[in-house]
Symmetry: C2
Subunit: 330 residues, 2 copies
């Protein structure tokens, strides 16, 4: 029995900001699982800013992929019972066949299913590792994080608060700023579109900042460098402001000389650097979630045809917290 | 008996590129040493790019200072015999009085006297520490250093060669480029004013560079980031291209996003970070000098009235190797 399944392909790699015209839906027909294969129905898929970078190296018609959570609906593989929930890297499609080698079983009793694509998954580990490992954040230090209401930034700030520090966050709307203070417990927050970052940093932390968790690029890094304390650290997680700079590249900070006398370290990283800490991370994060010390939000669009819109929304502030697309019922 | 001594003061802090009008010579009268004091006659003084940064925070009429080597010509302090050679921080003047607390005795048998302001002193330790400690340079790695014919850069490249690595250097004239290859033994060198840095890096090191020792700022860092290998390091020693940017700051590299996927570290430092290694450094460097493994050059102008010219010359390529001013006979 063949199955009809919708999948989204890259019609044309984006030039600058992506649009829905860069994507196309295709209907695929999947056969029953062969020997040792399983059929997976995806339930949630993730859209993430890093995918924009990957598209630079892709060609028209290429298959899109990334993190998703699905359920095994038919199995000819003894290791996977029907009904098992699995993390996979076959997003942007409703169903797929697998020999199981690319599947990770999820224990959905630990946390809500969708959180394994967010705070318990890649963005959570990015925040935890980027702050504590790459950023070498120590108890009581002063943190500044940009894109602070996003899936990574909101967790970064909350971890600093749990560790007794000052957390300053920036976001692109007054509503998000309020959310940072009232929901996520940031010490100070500001709207980078209407307020001057350096003025805000000086107000919130007169003695300077120890760690700037960089998600954005552009002028906020200049303010952070200027107001950074000696031996400050800048883990560079992302620079979303630059991801759509295909033609003209935006200049970097004009004050990198600040690094010299202040012994500042900038260090780029991606989440794969923290794979060895995943168990420790999940134990800590699970406890923080269960005890209510950490909160998280999700923005979930419904149906695979909304996936391009969800992805594009990452670059214009459409999401609050982790952006997901729901492909079928849990 | 009073002594007539010339000293140079900051008449007006520079705006942009310094000129001789920013400085003024004053004749000072010094008394005989008081109790526990010594009188020092300076023999060599150093001019260094870092002094430009310090001038941002100085006022008209302020006293200039920095590294110098002098001889004790009169002593009422039992710890210092007449004739003792001392390193001091009272440059930009011919004579001065001291209680001895700011003097470091020099053993001139170890190396030529002037080298204690250069390869055996601050610039040498800057090169050694910046490359091996901040840059974590490892045997056999590929190094790129800008301002490679300068007092720091020429040593950085030679250390990489001693450690079995590839050393690529850039400089601002064909004569300096020839010197890098023929005198200092660099593997490859190019003129950044007439050749494209990225093209040259690709040619000299097809597999990429591991460490970029940053002395300059501007476009060379962009090329280094683009051509850097995974886990590359950029010790930021100086950004001489930006030191005279008082009004309009020059934009930073447009491709800092390279740091993310390549886990690149940028780290600023000043030489004080390596004070704890000074003995180890002097032992290694002394041996390299005596065995002929390391060569160095000095540009020495004569007379204190040439000090402003020597300092300004740092910013227009007038020096080969360490720039010094000779104030009296050895």
């Amino acid at each position: 029995m063949t199955i009809q399944s919708n999948a989204i392909y890259l019609k044309q790699p984006p030039q600058g900001m992506p649009t829905t015209n860069n994507f196309e839906v295709r209907q695929e027909q999947l056969d029953d699982p062969g020997k040792n294969q399983v059929l997976i129905e995806n339930i949630y898929m993730s859209v993430d800013p890093y995918m924009r970078g990957r598209m630079r190296f892709m060609n028209p018609g290429d298959r899109l992929f990334g993190g998703a959570i699905g359920r095994i609906t038919a199995s000819r593989n003894k290791a996977f019972a029907e009904g098992t929930l699995v993390l996979n890297q076959n997003s942007w499609r409703e169903h797929f066949l697998s020999d199981g080698s690319d599947l990770q079983v999820i224990d959905a009793d630990l946390a809500p299913l969708s959180s394994f694509l967010g705070i318990m998954g890649m963005p959570g580990l990015t925040a935890w590792g980027g702050l504590l490992k790459t950023g070498e954040y120590k108890e009581g230090e002063t943190l500044f994080v940009s894109a602070a209401s996003g899936a990574v930034g909101s967790v970064v700030g909350q971890i600093a608060r749990i560790k007794g520090g000052i957390a300053i966050g920036s976001a692109g709307s007054d509503q998000k700023v309020n959310q940072l203070i009232n929901e996520y417990g940031f010490s100070h927050a500001f709207n980078y579109k209407t307020q001057d970052p350096l003025t805000e940093l000086r107000k919130a932390a007169p003695e300077g900042i120890d760690v700037y968790f960089e998600n954005v690029g552009g002028l906020q890094m200049e303010a952070a460098l200027t107001h950074m304390r000696v031996f400050g650290r800048i883990p560079i997680c992302g620079m979303i402001a630059h991801y759509n700079d295909d033609g003209i590249a935006t200049p970097g900070p004009r004050n990198l000389t600040e690094t010299i006398y202040k012994f500042i370290t900038l260090r780029g990283f991606v989440v794969s650097a923290f794979e060895e800490y995943r168990a420790q991370f999940q134990a800590e994060m699970g406890e923080w979630i269960r005890s209510g010390k950490i909160k998280y939000q999700e923005t979930i669009l419904d149906g695979i045809d909304k996936a391009p819109e969800a992805f594009i929304g990452l670059f214009n502030g459409a999401n609050q917290g982790k952006m997901l697309v729901k492909l079928s019922q849990e």
